[in-house]
Amino acid sequence: MPKLHSQNDSPLVPLPTDSYIPARDLHKSPVLEARHLGIDFGGLTAVDDFNLTIGRTEIAGLIGPNGAGKTTVFNLLTKVYQPTRGTIMIDGIDTHGMTTAQVNKLGVARTFQNIRLFDNLSVEDNVKLGMHNQIKYGMVSGILRLPAYWKQERIAHERALELLSIFDMQDLAGAKAGSLPYGAQRRLEIVRALGTNPSLLLLDEPAAGMNPSETAELMENIIKIRDTFQIAIMLIEHDMNLVMGICEGICVLNFGKVIAKGTPEDIQSNPVVIEAYLGKKKEA
C-alpha cells in the first residue's frame, strides 16, 4: 500500500493557512477530461455538451443554481448513470462502458450529497471498505485465516487510523458509523473516499450543514489533503466563501449546460453567472 507522503517528509504536518496554491498546471496530463458529455432521462436532457479538463493537482469547483445538473455530472463521471453522449478520460484512459467500481479502481472517488455510509458498520470498517481494493488477500485466506489475512488486516488497521487522523477522528474508530453526528459523518465519507487511493476526489457539497468555523476548518483540510496526497479535487458547493476561497478553477452549470469557466475572479464578475443566480436585472 502506498505510504502517505507530505511536502515535508513527515506525516501529515498541518500546513500554514497562507500556503502557496500552485497555478493550474495543464502541461501535465490532465487527470480528468470530459468531452461533450450528456445524458437524457426519457424526454428530459439533464446534462448537455459538458466539457471539462482538470489538472493533476487542481482544486476545481462545480457550481450552479439548484437543479442545474451538478450531481448528475458527478453521477456521470462515476458511471452511476451511463452517459448518452460524450467521452470521459481518466488519466488518459477512456472509461466508455465501465462500471462505477471499475472507474473507482481507475482512480476516481466520491462523496455523496445525501450521506451514504455503511451505517451498521464501525467507523474503522467504513474506512477499511474504502481501502478494500488495497488490502491484498482473498476469500479463502480470510476463511482459513492464512498469514496474509493477519498481515494485511494489521496494515489496514494502522492505515485506517492514519487516514482518520486527518480529521482527528481516530478515537471514533470503534463507533457505529450511523451513530455519528452529521459533521463527523460527512468527514468520514471523505476519509473513506481517500482510502480508495484516488487520483481524483469528487466532493458533493462537503460543507453542507456546517457553520462558518467548521467550513474554515474544512477548507484547510481540503488543501491539506490535496498537498499531502498530490491529488485533484473537484467539489460541488453552494457556499461561495469556500468555493472562491480554495478553488483554482470553477465551472458554472445552469440547466445542464456550462455557462462559464474560469478563475474565481472571472466567475465573480461574469454577468451570465450573476444572472443565473440572481435573475435578470430589472429594466430601469
Binding site: F41, T71, N75, V80, Y81, F112
Partner: protein, 292 residues
C-alpha cells in the same frame, strides 16, 4: 378442438389469476409491499361462501356478498394491525410479517375447518356445448371471464374518474405530497386493501367453483402465481394485471396439456424469471430508476 378447449380453460384460469393479480398490483402500487397473505384471503373467501351456502343455506349470490364483506373486513384489519405499524420499516420486515400473516390465516383455517378438502359446489352448473357437443365451455368459465372484464373496466373507471381512485393514484406516486394535498393517506391505503380483499373473495368463489374443492392451502399457489402474473404484466398497472393473468393462465394450461403436468408450475415460474431478467418492469410497467 382439443387446442381450443385448453385455450379456453387457460383463459378462464387466467381470468382468476387476473382478478387476484389486481389485488396484488393495487396494494403494491400504493403500499410498496408484497402482500403474501393475499392468496390466503382468497381461501377465506372460499370457506365463508361455502359455509354460507351449505351451513346457512343462503343463495349463491348472497354467499358471495357475505364472503366479500368478510374478506374486506379481514383485509382492512390485517392492514391496520400488521402492516400499518411497519410503514417506515425496511421492506424485508414487512415481507416477513406478510408471510407470518399468510401462515396465520392458513393455520387458523386448518384449525377451524380441518385439513380435509371440502367439496365446493360451483355457483352455477352446466355448460355450453358448441360444435355438436365436441367443445364444452362451462358456465363457470364464462362467468369467470365476464367477471374479470367487468372488474377490470370498473376499476379503471374508479381509479380514473372517482375522487378516491385519484387519491389512490396520488398516494402510489408520492405519499408525502398526497398528504400535503389534503388526502387522508391512511384511509386511502385501507380502502385499497378493502377493494383488493373484496376482489380476492370473488376470486375465491370463482376458483373454488372451477376446481370444486377447497383446502386451507388452496389459496397459496394461485396467490403466488397471480403475483407472478402481476409482475409479468407490470406491477402497479391494471391492464398489466389483466394481460399478465390471462397470458400466464394460457401458458399454464398449454404447458400442462402439451409439455408436462409435473413441470407446468416450473414453466410458469421460468417465464416469470425470464421476464424479470429481460424486462424488469414487466410487459406494461414503467421502469423507475433509483435516485442517487
Amino acid at each position: 378442438m382439443e387446442f381450443l378447449s385448453y385455450l379456453i380453460s387457460g383463459v378462464s384460469l387466467g381470468s382468476v389469476y387476473a382478478i387476484i393479480a389486481l389485488g396484488y398490483t393495487m396494494v403494491y402500487g400504493i403500499a410498496k409491499m408484497l402482500n403474501f397473505a393475499h392468496g390466503d384471503v382468497i381461501m377465506v373467501g372460499g370457506y365463508v361462501s361455502l359455509m354460507a351456502m351449505t351451513g346457512l343455506g343462503l343463495p349463491w349470490w348472497l354467499a358471495v356478498v357475505l364472503a366479500m364483506l368478510a374478506c374486506t373486513v379481514l383485509g382492512v384489519v390485517i392492514e391496520g394491525l400488521a402492516y400499518k405499524p411497519l410503514r417506515a420499516a425496511p421492506s424485508l420486515a414487512v415481507l416477513i410479517t406478510a408471510i407470518g400473516v399468510s401462515y396465520f390465516l392458513q393455520n387458523s383455517a386448518l384449525l377451524i375447518w380441518g385439513a380435509n378438502p371440502k367439496a365446493y359446489t360451483p355457483i352455477i352448473s352446466g355448460a355450453v356445448k358448441l360444435f355438436d357437443g365436441k367443445l364444452s365451455i362451462s358456465y363457470v368459465s364464462i362467468l369467470t371471464v365476464v367477471m374479470c372484464l367487468v372488474i377490470m373496466v370498473a376499476l379503471t373507471l374508479f381509479t380514473g374518474k372517482t375522487r378516491m381512485g385519484k387519491a389512490m393514484r396520488a398516494c402510489s406516486e408520492d405519499k408525502a405530497a398526497a398528504q400535503l394535498m389534503g388526502i387522508n393517506v391512511n384511509r386511502t391505503i385501507s380502502m385499497t386493501f378493502a377493494i383488493g380483499s373484496a376482489l380476492a373473495a370473488i376470486a375465491g368463489v370463482l376458483l373454488c367453483s372451477s376446481y370444486t374443492s377447497l383446502m386451507p392451502t388452496t389459496g397459496s399457489m394461485p396467490g403466488i402465481k397471480a403475483f407472478t402474473a402481476a409482475v409479468f404484466g407490470g406491477i402497479g398497472s391494471i391492464p398489466g394485471a389483466l394481460l399478465g393473468g390471462i397470458l400466464l393462465g394460457i401458458i399454464e394450461s398449454m404447458a400442462k396439456a402439451y409439455i408436462s403436468t409435473q413441470l407446468a408450475n416450473s414453466i410458469v415460474f421460468a417465464v416469470l424469471i425470464i421476464m424479470l431478467l429481460v424486462r424488469p418492469a414487466g410487459l406494461l410497467g414503467k421502469y423507475v430508476p433509483e435516485k442517487v
